[in-house]
């Protein structure tokens, strides 16, 4: 199987402050991330706020220029090519954002919103717009209305129709359902999964909701402070999480079933996310980790297969969670 997207050692650093004699801090929002997604596959990228998952998505899209590393789309390095060439590759990779209120121009009609990518690239056909609206389950007479007349779920459908218009192969979904109500969330997830099957799309699904990621993803990567700490197939990561962060993340998700809630083991992490501009030495997670040892402060754990082939984790003590306390 060929890789649709291959990201190698990607860094995106921001300079904070500085000037007037103060030293600028370097915020390593994305700090050496490598992964690949096969054609037709969904990679779920999970992490809490501030872990760099959205920055990673934007760096891949070319909305923010990465500090170093490479992004290959279908074998072609996007960062090494000329601007004009990159512009030609753009239609192959599209995006759906989290906020369906901010992602649609309030002064455009639905038709114009979906037609925009076609017009930019000079391939506008009215039939294509109709086809796209139909594809995401919107009625043709809705085309003349403004986004303000739609609810969050319908707006997200419009955004999906726009992303699909150019016939992309890869779609980066940046928290596409987290602003939606539960009953609407299920509609959009089903739509995304159906479209993937019909069109053979490849998804990078960025989210903080673990249940949603588990439902839609084939493979999953977990991020913490700019780095991937665990990556594997869905069943590996959710069934046998190897990294203590993944384990605590999974145990923190409330289960919608009151049965046995008293006996359910829960790892409650100590403290808050450390300042990303000044991360702890060694393993960045060690300050909150229940397994931390002296070694964790000295040696940065590599992301390598540790517990099973194809199941990588960045922890010196990776393994099935054994309750410590």
């Amino acid at each position: 199987m060929t890789d649709m997207l291959r990201v190698t050692d990607l860094h995106k650093h921001f300079r904070l402050g500085g000037g007037f004699g103060r030293r600028a801090e370097i915020l390593r929002a994305v700090n050496g991330v490598s992964f690949s997604i096969a054609k037709g596959e969904t990679l779920g990228l999970v992490g809490e706020s501030g872990c760099g998952k959205s920055t990673l998505g934007r760096a891949i899209l070319g909305l923010q220029k990465p500090t170093s590393g490479s992004v290959e789309l279908d074998g072609k390095d996007l960062l090494a090519m000329t601007k004009a060439e990159r512009q030609r590759q753009r239609p192959r990779m599209q995006v759906v954002f989290q906020d369906p209120y901010a992602s649609l121009d309030p002064r455009m009609s639905v038709h114009d919103i979906v037609a925009e990518p076609l017009r930019i690239n000079g391939v506008y056909r009215e039939a294509r717009v109709k086809e796209m609206l139909d594809c995401v389950g919107l009625r043709p007479e809705m085309a003349d209305q403004k986004p303000a007349q739609f609810s969050g779920g319908q707006r997200q459908r419009i955004a999906i129709a726009r992303a699909l218009a150019l016939g992309p192969e890869l779609i980066i979904l940046d928290e596409p359902v987290s602003a939606l109500d539960v009953s609407i969330q299920a509609q959009v997830i089903n739509l995304l999964m159906r479209l993937q099957k019909e069109m053979g799309l490849t998804y990078l699904f960025v989210a903080h909701d673990l249940s949603v990621v588990r439902h839609i993803s084939h493979r999953v990567a977990v991020m913490y402070l700019g780095k991937i700490v665990e990556m594997g197939t869905r069943d590996q990561v959710f069934g046998a999480p190897a990294h203590p962060y993944t384990q605590s993340l999974l145990s923190a998700v409330p289960v919608p079933d009151p049965k046995g809630r008293e006996t359910r083991g829960r790892i409650v992490l100590k403290g808050d996310l450390p300042n990303p501009a000044n991360p702890p030495s060694g393993c960045a997670f060690r300050t909150r980790c229940f397994k931390a040892q002296a070694r964790c402060a000295e040696e940065v754990p590599e992301l390598v297969d540790r517990t099973a082939p194809g199941h990588a984790s960045a922890c010196h003590f990776a393994g099935i969670h054994t309750k410590v306390c």
Partner: protein, 345 residues
């Protein structure tokens, strides 16, 4: 044995002023909260769950919304008859509220400690300044804020989201209230921080014995913390029962749909999620009859759903549902599940 009722809401109706005249955001809802229990209120946006609690607290936006009818009683005493002064004496002392966004509910230019001290001073007159300070530091420590003495003198922006919510909880429990109303207390937080905050809330309740009303859209949170649950939809209570009954044997088609549309961590993931068709109704254009009827799978074209508002009635012991055909729900769920299995084969 049921504990005493501490808060009782009867036929509460709240109207909002809209350009098309007054519209009911909350329509005839009734429920009781017992001493020491956790009462979960679940619903999607626009279901009226937050408005209900604002009405109970007397915090509805003046001029935009008003209580059009009903009764709210705290330990047998009507809250709606109270004047501003009387309400103020109860608010914060007996009933206190924790809001979703700790950034906007804390004053950014006042030190955290002073805000907690203010909450104490309001209801415990005659306490010396140093006694108030000691109490505030103690409260901060009790909600798990490290270094409470130093943190006392910091401003909200120096606190992380989780710490701010802890400070809010400290303020809310400053006067040992008998009911804590928590409106989406962890929605703005990450899951690992949410787990911390929920643990703090649990320990606080254990210590003070306060009852809690937990308003949330997260069914998982309710399943893990609530004793009894009200499911709200379109300004009405759709179902009201103990937490085990609601999740094991839902008796309203909306609850059934809501549970089925959740992606789960604990169940094997099937290919397709059940999804309730259509959109939840806004304030305008609420359907006649049962508010849920245009989206309901159990309606099956029956006219009664469109013409008659279903009353919230007891369908099993301590289990109420507002559906004309609640008795059919069990069979319907099995039917749908069987059809799904067949389709999968």
């Amino acid at each position: 044995m049921m504990a005493d009722v501490i808060l009782s809401v009867r036929d509460l109706t709240v109207e909002f002023q809209t350009p098309d005249g007054p519209k009911r955001a909350v329509d005839n809802i009734s429920f009781d909260v017992h001493e020491h229990e956790v009462f979960g209120v679940v619903g999607e946006s626009g279901s009226g769950k937050s408005v209900t609690m604002l009405a109970v607290m007397g915090l509805l936006p003046q001029g935009q919304a008003r209580i059009a009818g009903g009764e709210v009683k705290f330990r047998g005493k009507s809250l709606l008859d109270l004047d501003t002064e009387g309400l103020r004496a109860i608010r914060g002392k007996h009933l206190s509220m924790i809001f979703q966004d700790p950034m906007t509910s804390l004053n950014p230019v006042i030190k955290i400690g002073s805000q907690i001290a203010e909450a104490i001073g309001l209801h415990q007159k005659g306490l010396s300044r140093s006694a108030i300070r000691d109490r505030a530091v103690e409260l901060l420590g009790s909600v798990g804020v490290p270094n409470p003495g130093r943190r006392f003198d910091q401003y909200p922006h120096e606190f992380s989201g989780g710490m701010r919510q802890r400070a809010m909880i400290a303020m809310a429990i400053a006067n040992d209230p008998s009911i804590l109303i928590a409106d989406e207390p962890t929605t703005a937080l990450d899951v690992t921080i949410q787990a911390q905050v929920m643990e703090v809330l649990a320990s606080v309740r254990e210590r003070t014995g306060a009852a809690m009303i937990l308003i949330t859209h997260d069914l998982g949170l309710v399943a893990e913390t609530a004793d009894r649950v009200a499911v709200m939809y379109g300004g009405r209570v759709a179902e009201l029962a103990g937490v085990d009954e609601i999740f094991a044997e839902p008796r309203h088609p909306y609850t059934v749909g809501l549970l089925a549309s959740l992606p789960r961590l604990d169940a094997s993931s099937s290919e397709q999620l059940y999804s309730i068709p259509g959109q939840p109704p806004g304030l305008r254009g609420r359907p006649s009859g049962c508010v849920f009827n245009p989206r309901c799978g159990l309606k099956r074209g029956r006219e009664r759903c469109e013409t008659e508002v279903p009353a919230l009635r007891e369908v099993a012991p301590a289990h109420a549902a507002a559906c004309h055909f609640s008795e059919e729900v069990g069979d319907w769920v099995r039917e749908v599940a069987a059809a799904k299995r067949e389709a999968a084969l």
